[in-house]
């Protein structure tokens, strides 16, 4: 090879490598590479109790590294003889959106960009069509005359479209009725977001930003542990509370007592009382056959 050819070839090579580096330069912004341990982790359903201990310890370490606070991460198992159902009284809801923010605080959702599992729709009297709802209302006072308010969150469908379309089985329905997501198994394809008719699913477009002072340290593997960029999340009926026997955060904050939650298989529960005695609807796109576990009702 002579000098000219050498120089020419090396020039072309350098240009080619420079072009490749330039085209890959956006990857410099990806800082959140998963550890080898996380990458090789098995699906939730395949984890042995010993594996789960290691996973929970890893999560605890990562949260402590990122936020400087030690969380309490647990894997809550479903209880026998329990099927959760949520009932919401549309006569009582005043549209204050406290449930939205209580959920955000309990479940460590990103504040900026904002993720909120619950969306409250301002509906005109006479229609239960979600398309007529307005979610951007901001009057001085709620409730406004001529409207009722309908909070929508994951309906935990018996026949969930999101579960059907997930290519990796990262989302599935648990025996107590909750549709859960294994955040370490989700690849972020967003098929479930497209399949859900209720806009229940949220995607982490960027790394979630949670202020340290508002971090909820009582975490669960399938529930409110901090997520990473590129995974889906949604309402999971506050799995860290409800599988410990408590009411979800949205119910605990509602000033009007519009939200009711419990075990439908227990005839003494509030939700059983409501199903027996109230005008209950499984509306919200009932015709799609999703069979939600979320029931809206009216009092009078």
């Amino acid at each position: 090879m002579n000098r000219r050819n050498f120089l020419r070839t090396s020039g072309v090579l350098a240009a080619g490598i420079a072009a490749l580096a330039a085209s890959l330069s956006p990857l410099r912004e990806l800082s959140d590479f998963s550890s080898a341990e996380e990458f090789m982790q098995k699906h939730y359903k395949e984890l042995t109790p010993a594996d789960m201990e290691k996973v929970l310890a890893r999560i605890s370490r990562e949260v402590e590294k990122q936020y400087g606070l030690r969380p309490h991460v647990k894997d809550y198992k479903p209880m026998d003889g329990v099927e959760f159902v949520y009932c919401l009284n549309l006569t009582r809801c005043i549209g204050c959106r406290k449930c939205v923010h209580a959920c955000v605080a309990e479940n460590n959702q990103s504040r900026d960009p904002e993720i909120q599992y619950i969306r409250v729709l301002k509906m005109p009297h006479g229609s239960l069509d979600m398309e007529k709802g307005d979610h951007n209302y901001s009057p001085d006072m709620v409730p406004e005359k001529g409207f009722f308010y309908m909070p929508v969150q994951c309906q935990q469908c018996k026949n969930a479209p999101c579960v059907k379309v997930c290519p990796t089985r990262a989302t599935w329905t648990e025996p107590d009725g909750i549709t859960v997501i294994d955040y370490d198994w989700c690849i972020g394809c967003r098929y479930c977001e497209a399949a859900c008719p209720y806009f229940a699913r949220r995607f982490n477009w960027t790394k979630p930003k949670i202020p340290k002072e508002r971090l909820n340290l009582n975490m669960s593997y399938l529930g409110n542990r901090p997520r990473k960029q590129g995974v889906m999340e949604k309402c999971h009926f506050c799995i860290q509370r409800t599988r410990a026997g408590r009411y979800p955060a949205c119910l605990e904050v509602c000033p009007a007592g519009a939200r009711k939650f419990g075990n439908i298989l227990d005839p003494e529960s509030e939700v059983s009382y409501i199903m027996r005695n109230k005008r209950v609807f499984i509306q919200l796109k009932e015709e799609l056959g999703t069979s939600p576990r979320f029931f809206y009702y009216f009092d009078v």
């Binding site: 580096a21 923010h101 409730p143």
Partner: protein
């Protein structure tokens, strides 16, 4: 293969090719440089940062603080002793205006009477006992102490007229039931009627809502009228 035959095969042994290749290589290098140090700047519009929500919107405290709650938290019981001003054993009489509505005495001017539509229940002594001001009276003759601390007694007063609501309240369906849905794992806490409803103006008060959802990207401006550039 020999150098000459290779070059002839590739038709690359002339000066013009050299120049073109050098030009292309230079162009790529320049372009690569431009992208790496981001001369044009990313076309990302950052929306204004979203402020944290005010803490009152995540506070589970009930709407009102009832007298019973105030006493539980250390209020002075003599604030609620009617006989500091009123005489014992002297039954009170209501003053009514020309249309038959009750006139609230100026000493109690903080009380706004709005119980029931069309002022149906604006008679003080439908609930208060005119003979014994420490008590409230139900429709069926039972007494409830005004300062009773238990959330189980006030509902008996209100429930003596509002039957279906009382039935729902007893089932845990009217008003909030907090705590454990699984009663074997923990306790629940119930609220009395007056923790949410002002007994003189019971209609549940409206309030300011929390802010609505913030969009991921700034909402596009509407096109300006009359063909002006956006």
């Amino acid at each position: 293969m020999s150098e000459r035959r290779r070059a002839a095969f590739l038709n690359m042994n002339d000066k013009k090719t050299d120049l073109v290749l050098a030009g292309v290589a230079l162009a790529f290098l320049v372009l690569g440089f431009v992208f790496v140090i981001d001369i044009p700047g990313r076309a990302v519009v950052h929306p204004p940062p979203i402020p944290l929500v005010a803490t009152n919107f995540v506070d589970p405290a009930p709407t009102r603080v009832s007298i019973a709650e105030k006493l539980k938290h250390g209020a002075d019981p003599s604030d609620y002793d009617c006989y500091i001003c009123h005489e014992r054993n002297k039954p009170l009489k209501l003053k009514l205006d020309a249309s038959g509505d009750v006139i609230v005495p100026s000493e109690h001017k903080d009380i706004v009477m709005a119980h029931g539509g069309h002022k149906r229940n604006n008679n003080c002594f439908n609930c208060h006992d005119e003979n014994n001001l420490d008590q409230l009276q139900t429709r069926d003759g039972r007494q409830v102490k005004l300062t009773d601390l238990s959330p189980l007694s006030t509902p008996q007063l209100c429930g003596s007229c509002h039957g279906p609501t009382y039935r729902d309240w007893e089932a845990g369906v009217h008003g909030r039931t907090s705590g454990y849905w699984n009663r074997s794992m923990g306790d629940i806490s119930r609220l009395s009627c007056v923790s949410c409803h002002n007994p003189h103006s019971p209609k549940f008060q409206g309030r300011e809502p929390a802010p609505g959802p913030h969009p991921l990207h700034p909402v596009a401006k509407r096109p300006a009228p009359e063909g002006k550039a956006e």
